[in-house]
Symmetry: C2
Subunit: 305 residues, 2 copies
C-alpha cells in the first residue's frame, strides 16, 4: 500500500514517528529493544498458515458468516468476543476498553446508503457486558477525552444499524480530541478507507496500547490515566493494522502506531509505521495468524521477498 | 473462616489495610468508590448459580477431571488457560504474568510425600507460551524482584512433578522479596494451608492487580514497572480468594488484597480483607460464578444471611 510514495520513508518506521517528540523516544526503545528483526527468519507473525481463499461479501450474509469474513485471517484472541453485524471486537474487562476491533470492507460496502445519518446515532452503554465492567456515558463525561471509535463510524455508512452499532461504548476508548481523534487519527481512518480504491478487500484491526517509558531512575514504567467511576483506561497509544487484498490475491500490510496525544497534523502517516511484531509483542496478540505468508507481498510498502 | 477472631476486624476490611500507609489511601478509594455495597441486593458475584455438588479428589484422576475439580466453581475467564496436573492458570500475554491461578487442596493432598524436595525444583521458561510473550529467567535476573509463586510450591508437596510444575515462569510474578514474598505474603499462604485443618476442601484463586492512585493533579493513574527485555509487569497488588468447603456442605470465603511492597509483618492478615466485588471490578474477572449462593455462609468471617 502506498508503495513507492511511502517506501522512501520506510527506514524511519516507528523510530521516525517517535523522534518527533522527545519523551516518545523511550517508546521507540520499547518497540525495538525486544525485536531483532535481522535475527529472525522472515516474519514469525505468519508462522501458522493456511491456504486462505477470498470471500466475497454479500449483503445477505448472516452475522455468523459475516464474522467468518471479517475474521478471515484468524482471531487475535478469544476472550470476551462481541460479534456485531459488521464488526467483531474483544473487550478487556479490566481496562474497560476493547483489546482489538476487527473490520472488513471494500469500495462497495463503504458507499453511504440513502438516509444513513451519523447525527442520528447515539453512544450507548452496552447491556452485552457485565455491569461491573461496562463503561458508562458518565465515565466519559467531563473527562477531557473524546469517545474515540475503534471501528470508525464512517466505515459503516451503508446501513444505519451498522453505524449505530459502532456507538457502543465497548467500541470506544478515551482519545485526545483536538489534535488526535479529530485530526491525525481521523486522517489515518480516512486513508484506510481510500485504500479500498486500490484493493479489492480491506481487513483492519484497531486497538489500544499501553507502552512503557523510561523514567529518571532508569527503569521502565507503564503509566496511564483511568477515567470515571468505572476506571476506563486511557491508552497511551493506538495501533491500526491494515491488510489490503489485491485482485490477483496478493496481500499488502500496513501497521501504524500513534501516540494518544496532540500530534502535528502535517506529519506524514508513514512516520507512524511500526512492525507487526512490535505491535504483537506490545499488545499480547498475534495478528492474522491464519494468513498465508506466501501471499504477503509488502509490509509498510517494503517487499517481503 | 477465622470467624470470631476476625469478625472483630471486619468493618475495617480494605480500608483498614490501606490506612496503614498514607499513599495507599487512594487504593482504598479505588476499591470502594465504585462499590456501593449497601445499594446492592446481597452479593451479585453469586448471581449465576447452579446447584454445585462436592467432588471428592482422588489420586487416580486424569488431568481433565482434576481440572474439573480445581475449577469446580467456574472459570473466571477462558483466555490463554494453561492446565497443569494440580493447578490451572490463565496467562496474560500482554502483562507476561498470570491473570489468575486456581488451586484446590485438602489436608490429605497437602501432605509432603517422601522424597519431594523443593531444592530440586528449578524455575523454567515455559515452551507452552509463544516466545513473544514468554517470560524468561533473564527478565527476572537482577530486577530487584523475587520470582513470586502464584500457586505456592508448598501447596504441591505431595508430588515432585506437581511441585516442579509450579516453577514455570507462567506461574510467577515479580514480587518484592524481603518484607513481602518472604514474609507477609508467605504468612498468608501458610494461613490458607492451615485452613485445611478446618475445612474439608480448599479452593483458592490468586492473581495480580494493577490499581490506580490519585496524583497531585487530582486524576487517577495506574502506574507499574516492567522488567526485563520482555517487559514483565510488576503488579501493584496481589489478591487471594479462598473458599473453604465444610463437611456439611457450607462454604466460607475470604478475600485478601495485599500491596506488593514491604509490609509490617506484625499486621494481622485480616487487615488485608477486601470484598469479592472489589476484586472482581479491579481484576476484570468474575469469581466462582457457578457457586451456589445458597451454600455461602460467611465472607471474611461475616455471615451472609
Amino acid at each position: 500500500m502506498l508503495r513507492r510514495t511511502i517506501l522512501a520513508g520506510v527506514t524511519s518506521t516507528v523510530i521516525g514517528a517517535v523522534a518527533l517528540n522527545e519523551p516518545l523516544r523511550d517508546y521507540a526503545e520499547h518497540l525495538w529493544s525486544v525485536i531483532r528483526l535481522n535475527d529472525k527468519p522472515g516474519l514469525p507473525v505468519f508462522g501458522t498458515v493456511s491456504a486462505a481463499t477470498a470471500v466475497v461479501p454479500s449483503a445477505s450474509t448472516t452475522v455468523a458468516s459475516r464474522t467468518a469474513q471479517i475474521m478471515k485471517f484468524g482471531f487475535p484472541g478469544t476472550a470476551n468476543v462481541k460479534v456485531r453485524e459488521n464488526f467483531v471486537l474483544s473487550f478487556d474487562r479490566r481496562l474497560r476498553v476493547a483489546t482489538w476491533v476487527f473490520e472488513h470492507f471494500n469500495r462497495e460496502s463503504l458507499k453511504k446508503a440513502d438516509g444513513v445519518d451519523r447525527s442520528a446515532c447515539t453512544f450507548f452503554e452496552d447491556p452485552d457486558e457485565h455491569p461491573y465492567f461496562r463503561p458508562t456515558l458518565q465515565d466519559y463525561l467531563n473527562s477531557g477525552f473524546d469517545r474515540g471509535h475503534m471501528a470508525a463510524a464512517a466505515n459503516h455508512r451503508s446501513n444505519q444499524k451498522h453505524m449505530q452499532d459502532t456507538f457502543t461504548l465497548l467500541n470506544v476508548a478515551p482519545q485526545v480530541g483536538k489534535g488526535f481523534n479529530r485530526d491525525s487519527w481521523e486522517r489515518l481512518e480516512r486513508y484506510v478507507r481510500q485504500l479500498s480504491r486500490t484493493y479489492k478487500e480491506i481487513y483492519t484491526c484497531t486497538g489500544p496500547l499501553f507502552l512503557p517509558r523510561r523514567e529518571g531512575d532508569g527503569k521502565l514504567y507503564v503509566k496511564y490515566q483511568v477515567i470515571g467511576k468505572n476506571h476506563v483506561a486511557v491508552p497511551t497509544h493506538f495501533f491500526k493494522i491494515v491488510v489490503g487484498e489485491g485482485t490477483d490475491g496478493f496481500l499488502d500490510m500496513e501497521v501504524f502506531v500513534m501516540p494518544n496525544q496532540v500530534l502535528d497534523d502535517s506529519i506524514s502517516l508513514n512516520a507512524y509505521y511500526s512492525t507487526p511484531e512490535a505491535v504483537e509483542r506490545a499488545s499480547g496478540l498475534l495478528f492474522f495468524s491464519s494468513m498465508s505468508k506466501d501471499r504477503l507481498r509488502c509490509v509498510n510498502g517494503v517487499r517481503t521477498k
